[in-house]
């Protein structure tokens, strides 16, 4: 506890009482599934690595434990993608680019560059 030299009382005992000494911090091993790798799946968020060879439908990655579609962010870690669907103009996702997919979005298809050029 440090208060930059100011003459205020330091509540060290209370701070220690409120301190969580054991946390879940640390490396978490990825879980390899049939169609993707689950990098992390914790109370508040989930991060997955999804390989796409030529084309992939978003619906193919629906989760049984998530009956309601939700907001998702897609990040192109390698390669470039084109996101297409029947109800919207194609969206290009450059390498290391990111798109936010609203919960109300219709199903889409993700294609590699080779699949649309």
């Amino acid at each position: 506890m440090f208060d930059y030299g100011r003459p205020r009382e330091l509540h060290i005992e209370k701070s220690l009482e409120a301190t969580r000494l054991v946390t879940r911090a640390g490396k978490i091993a990825p879980r390899v599934l049939d169609d993707r790798t689950l990098l992390i799946d914790v109370e508040y968020f989930r991060v997955e690595r999804i390989p796409v060879n030529v084309s992939r439908a978003s619906a193919s990655l629906s989760d049984k434990d998530r009956p309601e579609p939700g907001l998702a962010y897609l990040f192109a870690a390698a390669g470039t993608a084109r996101i297409t669907g029947p109800d919207f103009e194609p969206v290009d996702l450059p390498t290391r680019g990111m798109v936010a997919v609203p919960a109300a979005s219709p199903p889409s298809r993700w294609r590699t560059r080779a699949a649309w050029t």
């Binding site: 508040y44 968020f45 939700g70 907001l71 897609l74 192109a76 390669g79």
Partner: protein, 160 residues
């Protein structure tokens, strides 16, 4: 990184609590109604904070979350413009609680709220004020959270 034709996508998604569709539907209706009816506009905002706070107080206790949610969102309906009397003399005598209970009993079933829980909502609203003596667990949580809300009216909470 060179684009060799393959694609690696990273998908990040928030993990929202699982909810069944019907449950989500009536809750959305309650929120939508209160968002529209809470007038003047500063009357909106207390409800989500209150529910979040009451649920937090109730962690580890066997409270009914449906009752708590409905009561927290509906409990002040009778103080909104359009619901309370306009005449100053009438307003001075106005007891918003019976009105709020009656309207809640009318409105909630139409949104799909479980009918068997209406009495629980009415009871929680009946005793939600500081001078009341709540009997049910949801009523205790609602009253205590309402008192805390008045002490710390701008505590941040999750968005709705």
């Amino acid at each position: 990184m060179e684009d060799t034709g393959g694609l690696d996508l990273i998908r990040m998604t928030p993990n929202w609590p699982a909810r069944d569709t019907m449950n989500a539907a009536w809750r959305a209706s309650v929120i939508g109604y209160i968002r529209a009816e809470a007038q003047p506009a500063d009357k909106f905002g207390h409800q989500p904070r209150l529910y979040t706070l009451a649920a937090k107080l109730g962690e580890g206790t066997p409270f009914d979350d449906d009752i708590l949610f409905a009561a927290a969102w509906m409990h002040d309906l009778g103080v909104f413009l359009g619901h309370r009397p306009q005449d100053p003399a009438e307003l001075a005598r106005w007891d918003h609680v019976p009105y709020t209970i009656a309207r809640s009993r009318e409105l909630l079933p139409g949104w799909g709220f479980p009918a068997e829980k209406l009495d629980g909502v009415a009871e929680a609203i009946r005793t939600h004020q500081p001078h009341d003596e709540p009997v049910t667990i949801e009523a205790v949580l609602l009253r205590d959270a309402d008192i805390l809300e008045q002490l710390v009216p701008l505590e941040p909470c999750a968005p709705w």
